[in-house]
């Protein structure tokens, strides 16, 4: 794997997938990849939210490298709640 890439485990609605991501890219770039790899193509990326293992919402415009994710990091991608009524 090139030096500028890393692997991340993303849990999409409970389903695990491994992403190869560019460290210098913003975090939001992994959302599209994770959705493609898990066959979740029905909703645009902005309808999903990404959290760390502690449940904290992650800033999507920050570079992936700046998070200093450990090698066994798991990120959780879940569909947002729509408008209730």
């Amino acid at each position: 794997m090139p030096d500028n890439e890393l692997q991340l485990e993303v849990i999409v609605n409970g389903q695990s997938t491994i992403i190869r991501a560019n460290k210098n890219a913003p975090l939001r770039t992994i959302i599209q990849l994770a959705l493609q790899q898990t066959g979740n193509a029905g909703q645009p990326p902005e309808n999903w939210e990404l959290r760390d293992a502690a449940g904290v919402l992650l800033p999507l415009d920050q570079k992936i490298e700046e998070f200093n994710f450990p090698t066994d990091a798991k990120l959780f991608l879940n569909l947002r709640a729509g408008v209730g009524g």
């Binding site: 609605n13 409970g14 979740n40 569909l79 009524g85």
Partner: protein
């Protein structure tokens, strides 16, 4: 009351097992967030949600899922008393899953002088809805059986949400946790002082 199983039970059972298996694979991470899977016996799952960051930690609510007929039909989701499994009535809910909603910029017909800042009205809308305090509340969220069976949501069919995992166990827990548990930041303690008369002696 048990829901009649009208789809092939093998299919629903397999999909139910997949939900539970995927949950179990990351159970340690979920437990550290305060999610405790107590029971998983087709078609039902009971998860207890705790506010793990409070000192002492607090048990907030149980969540019971019923995956009968999944995923021809969405799961039923109820907030239940965690120790007895009894569903909460609206007045008993420990949390109503309030979310912030931004209202319209201005009431219809109102206007502001040019250049004025347009105020935005921000309100709170509970995701747990009921008609009255004694009614059984339901989670007003696409992906939940009670939502799709409600006549007001006949235009938002389950089939529109099924393919994106709206009824999946972890996704529903995430929503309930986000709006119902995570915002709890501490304990509210109300002390009510009572004033009476002190009496030193009781005369004969």
């Amino acid at each position: 009351m048990a829901t009649p199983q009208y789809t092939d039970p093998k299919v629903s059972r397999r999909k139910f097992e997949r939900e539970v298996e995927e949950y179990r694979r990351n159970e340690v991470a979920y437990r550290s967030r305060g999610w405790i899977l107590v029971e998983a016996d087709f078609p039902r799952v009971l998860v207890v949600l705790c506010a793990a960051k409070l000192k002492p930690a607090a048990v907030i609510t149980g969540v019971r899922f019923d995956y009968s007929n999944y995923d021809a039909a969405p799961p039923s989701v109820q907030l239940v008393e965690p120790f007895t499994g009894e569903p909460y009535r609206a007045a008993e809910l420990p949390t109503t899953l309030k979310r912030q909603v931004v209202g319209p910029a201005l009431p219809p017909g109102a206007s502001l002088p040019p250049g004025a800042n347009v105020p935005r009205l921000v309100g709170h809308q509970p995701l747990m809805q009921a008609y009255g305090p004694e009614d059984m509340p339901f989670l007003c969220l696409a992906g939940v059986r009670e939502y799709h069976e409600h006549p007001a949501h006949s235009g938002d069919a389950w089939e529109l949400h099924r393919c994106i995992g709206a009824g999946r166990l972890v996704r529903l827990l995430e929503v309930i946790d986000t709006y119902g548990v995570r915002p709890i930041s501490g304990y509210n303690v109300e002390l009510v002082p009572r004033i009476g008369f002190a009496q030193n002696e009781v005369p004969e």
